[in-house]
């Protein structure tokens, strides 16, 4: 009964939280755009639709066309799909890995904790981008899957650290002692006692990982290590720079993709702050 009341209390505040509303709204907009956008356009992202080359936004080409006469709107919409896919996969892998290692380290403690801690610190110190670069550089063919996995496997330390700290503090609580005394296995305790009490924390961790994956993917793609036969927001920016969009003032080519990334990541941060306020009554403004 109390749990239900608490859930309803959270829902009450969640629906009224300004930051959460704005963030969720923006994300929803982009998700819908990514899902239904292709229906709004007749072209493919790489089709050379405009024989005259680059033109600014018009009623025919909503975001104008590129140097080669490709429709920017189509590219952005398809790029959004790729970006979201990488973010969900990469963020998901990072969160899951972080959960696995964080729970184990926080719950078991001792030697296991020391080892995982050392591993986390090592991976944390190495600049993610450098590792991603060096792996991706040697891959001749790169897919969205590969990129997601790489991002996921290099971003987990943040999640692991946070989850470990939380697990540590939950571990000493009475209900965990009860479960342990009744002979439940560590695994079961973690997933049926500790995790549900950290749900809010896990959600927030995933949101941050999601945002981080979007940024990492955009950066990788921009450098030229993105997927070899897809389109993503970072790749659009790379093409724009490579083909002189700056010098020729083709702002409609490089502004939309970057703007989309900024808005998405900003919305995610906003959601995170909003969720923090919902779950931590102290932070709620009167």
């Amino acid at each position: 009964m109390k749990a239900l009341k608490q859930k309803n209390e959270f829902l009450y505040f969640a629906l009224r939280n300004r930051k959460l509303q704005i963030g969720l709204g923006v994300i929803l907009f982009f998700v819908l755009l990514a899902a239904f956008g292709p229906l709004l356009t007749d072209y493919g992202p790489f089709d050379y639709v405009n024989p005259t080359g680059p033109v600014p936004p018009s009623s025919k080409y909503w975001l104008g066309t590129t140097f080669f006469g490709q429709d920017v709107f189509t590219q952005v919409v398809m790029g959004l799909r790729a970006t979201f896919m990488i973010a969900v996969l990469g963020g998901g892998i990072a969160t899951l890995t972080g959960m696995l290692l964080g729970f184990l380290a926080g719950y078991r403690g001792g030697m296991l904790d020391e080892i995982i801690n050392a591993l986390t610190n090592i991976v944390l110190v190495i600049p993610t981008m450098a590792v991603l670069l060096i792996i991706a550089a040697y891959l001749q063919v790169r897919s969205l899957w590969m990129e997601s996995i790489l991002i996921g496997l290099t971003s987990w330390p943040w999640a692991a650290r946070a989850i470990r700290a939380q697990t540590f503090s939950l571990r000493t609580r009475d209900f965990v002692d009860m479960a342990r005394m009744s002979g439940e296995s560590s695994f079961k305790i973690i997933f049926s006692e500790i995790a549900p009490n950290m749900m809010s924390y896990l959600v927030m961790t995933f949101i941050l990982q999601f945002g981080g994956a979007v940024l990492n993917a955009a950066t990788l793609d921009f450098i030229g290590l993105g997927p070899t036969n897809a389109i993503s927001l970072g790749l659009i920016m790379q093409y724009a720079m490579m083909w002189g969009a700056l010098q020729f003032g083709m702002w409609w080519w490089f502004v939309p993709p970057g703007l989309a990334v900024t808005l998405i990541v900003g919305a995610l941060y906003s959601m995170n702050v909003g969720l923090d306020e919902v779950f931590n009554p102290k932070l709620r403004e009167m």
């Binding site: 110190v125 190495i126 921009f222």
Partner: protein, 330 residues
Amino acid sequence: MRKYFGRKLLIYLLTFFLAVTIDWLIPRFMPGDPVANMLARVSVNSTAASVMQEYYTHLFGLDLPLWQQYLNFWTNLLHGDLGISAYLFPKPVTQVLMNAIPYDVALLLPAILLSWLAGNNFGAVAARSKWLDNTVSPIGYILTATPYMWLGILLAWFFGIILDIFPIAGAYSFSLSPTLSWKFIGDVLLHWFLPFFSLFMVQFGGWAIGMRNMIIYELEADYSHYLEALGAPRSLIRRYAFNNAVLPQLSGLALQLGVIVAGALVTEVVFSYPGIGYLLLAAIQNQDYFLIQGCFLFIIIGVLLANFVIDIVYVLVDPRTRRGMTGEAA
């Protein structure tokens, strides 16, 4: 304190070891023959090609057993020999990198220091008044959500193309040659400003937000309430809150180094600024494996050194670490 540093050094050594191993491993375990890939870009006749193939295979040590390749790699590394660049043949990789380092330091050092200091102070001020907070916070979040390269592109476009105040490529004008003249220095500064500013702004947003949150947290701490109850003036309470809040911000800086380095990489690409980032991109595009490996190592070493410096500073700033109790949270 010895334990504190001992532990840190151990981690750094392990990291270095692991990074070097990764660096050595990757090209040898990726599909395809790295030397053939490298040479495919260079169009030479078949006899020259096979000679170069042999030469580079030998240089790479690919004709040796794996364990020997690994040992050679380490020996060469410790002698400062990182091989010969294929892209900039016949310059040795070490020399190429050493030429690029000053540009990175010139960009990163001021950007990191100034944005951290300014961001923290700004965030502290924002935590004071509600309306300041409501205007500064959203801007801070947007800045920190902005991808480094996009901000670079926007700045280049606005200040470089539209307003035509700053140049947007290179470290100095092609027409000038390096001399110690005011004209040259001015030119270098002009070229330096936009990439520096771009790096500065994104980080600034992050630190301002972080500090604002930390100060609010510290102002609600027990010691703050106690001082209030004893009638201490706001200035004293705020000063204590600031001093306490700075510590996690310092640890945070160490954790952000990887992200900042990545940001510098792409910013250099946008502005064709000849630092390691720009070099790395060129190396990747030209499949110059020695140069790629060298860049990676330099980046790793740089980050490890910076981490170590921050650790030292932290000990100086947090008096608790000196007394043998680490103030750092897990």
